[in-house]
Amino acid sequence: MLDDFMVRATLAGVGVACAAAPLGCFVVWRRMAYFGDATAHAAMLGVALSLALQTSVFVGTVAVALAMAVTVTVLSGRGYGMDTLLGVLAHSALAAGLVAVSFLSGVRLDLMAYLFGDLLAVGRLDLAVIWGGAALVVVLLAWRWSALLLSTLNEELARASDIDPRREEMFLTVALAITVAVAIKVVGVLLIAAMLIVPAAAARGLSRTPEVMAILAGAIGSFSTVAGLRAAYVFDTPAGPSIVCVAAACFLAVTLATGVGRRGARRG
């Protein structure tokens, strides 16, 4: 079964969607969209470094994504607005990564594969890494779920319940770094943030509790993967962007449906 590249691609995409769903919810709730973007862009530098040092791309991207997250946390609140800081860091890291890659002589690098993903080339080992990383993220978030929710809602409420919001934030940062590293192969550096945010945003309109939103985001993400891959196969379009397009269509559909419903309810 795993011999079929479409099956491997689908499984890889669904794995990433499952990890990205609960994490994406926190990214949306905590307004960390740019933070996710910055961490993802920094992964390009991680790719370059791991190629230069001949280590696995997974290890390199996790390390650089973590370093990026820590840098942002340390620099925040030192006179620059968060969006300015993230804008500077995200694009610098991406640019530095692209420049660093060009220095690598002797390495024939398909840049497009890292920028937009190379889902159809997922091998058995890639699949194992993706599912291992995704499972780690899901377990981590399930374990810290309530404490993370309370920290997200209000720092003082968390403190009063003996929860350290900074510690919980660290769990999120680690989960984000792992997700970025496993998602590179699927959607690429430029579209990872979309896998985090778009399914979660689409699920918001349909959810009454945080848990339902996380599960629905996973369902929407998985559906987008399957449908997007199918579309890519039929229309011969790039796989990663096709998946994101389906997710965006889901978001649009939910927004229109619930928006119209809500307006009707208000009038009534």
Partner: protein, 254 residues
């Protein structure tokens, strides 16, 4: 034995000292109110008490196993976060689904019907009741309130403070609260602490209200507030309820 003991507490934000050498302790069953002008360090003091601020010097000693209930000044629920009242109540550690604890807590706060509503759809008064119900669900030894009646009208905040006194009476929990509604709060407090970067004066409501430091801080407004307070206070005692009754109950318990 005090529940919480702030010893020579000094707090700094950046280069600014917001609190200097504050000593404050709360004993079981006591209602302590902190008053003070804006920027006097009231909220910082409460944040230090729950451990959200690290003191520059001095220390915060909590009784072993102390459970704290906290009601924030305001709670912003991000519109992207779907949250029912029931789910919000269960966000406290140790509160399980289906034990009836949530329903009981909401019922005693008078908001039982709101269980399935979204937090974002509640009115100011309902929101405040739910916040208090959640703070009480873990049966706290100490309740911390940070200007909890902001956004409520006068009747609403009077009802809120009545409820606080009732809670103290029923559960015996101590209360440490910040308020700017001096006249309303004074009639329910055992002790008032007037704060302005340091403790200006403290004591029973009567002592603080007549202290020159307090009058200097609250200036011309004091006369009116004081008159209103006196009026309120006399009225309560005529009814033979509230402050006096609760104080007796506490003495009996000790």
């Amino acid at each position: 034995m005090s529940l919480i003991d702030l010893q020579h507490l000094t707090l700094r934000y950046g280069g600014n000292t917001v609190l200097r050498d504050v000593n404050l302790s709360v004993t079981p069953g006591e209602i302590v109110t902190i008053v003070g002008p804006n920027g006097s360090g009231k909220t910082s003091l409460l944040r230090a008490a729950i451990g959200a601020l690290t003191p520059a010097s001095g220390r915060v000693v909590r009784a072993p196993g102390l459970t704290i209930g906290y009601v924030p000044q305001k709670l912003h629920v991000d519109p992207t976060l779907p949250l029912t009242v029931d789910r919000f109540m269960r966000l406290a550690p140790g509160v399980r689904r289906g034990t009836g604890a949530v329903r009981a807590a909401l019922a005693s706060a008078g908001v039982a019907a709101l269980e399935r509503r979204q937090m974002a759809d509640l009115s100011g008064g309902q929101f405040q009741r739910v916040l208090l119900a959640r703070a009480l669900i873990r049966k706290p030894d100490l309740l911390l309130l940070d200007e909890a009646t902001q956004g409520l009208d006068q009747a609403g905040s009077a009802a809120f403070y009545q409820r606080i006194e009732q809670v103290r009476h029923e559960t015996g929990c101590a209360v440490l609260m910040i308020s700017h509604e001096l006249h309303v709060v004074m009639s329910t407090s055992d002790r008032v602490i007037c704060l302005n970067g340091h403790v200006c004066c403290e004591g029973t409501p009567e002592v603080v209200a007549s202290a020159p430091e307090y009058r200097a801080l609250f200036g011309t407004g004091t006369g009116g507030a004081l008159a209103l307070y006196r009026h309120d206070h006399d009225h309560k005692h005529d009814d033979g309820c509230g402050h006096g009754a609760a104080a007796h109950a506490r003495e009996a318990a000790e």
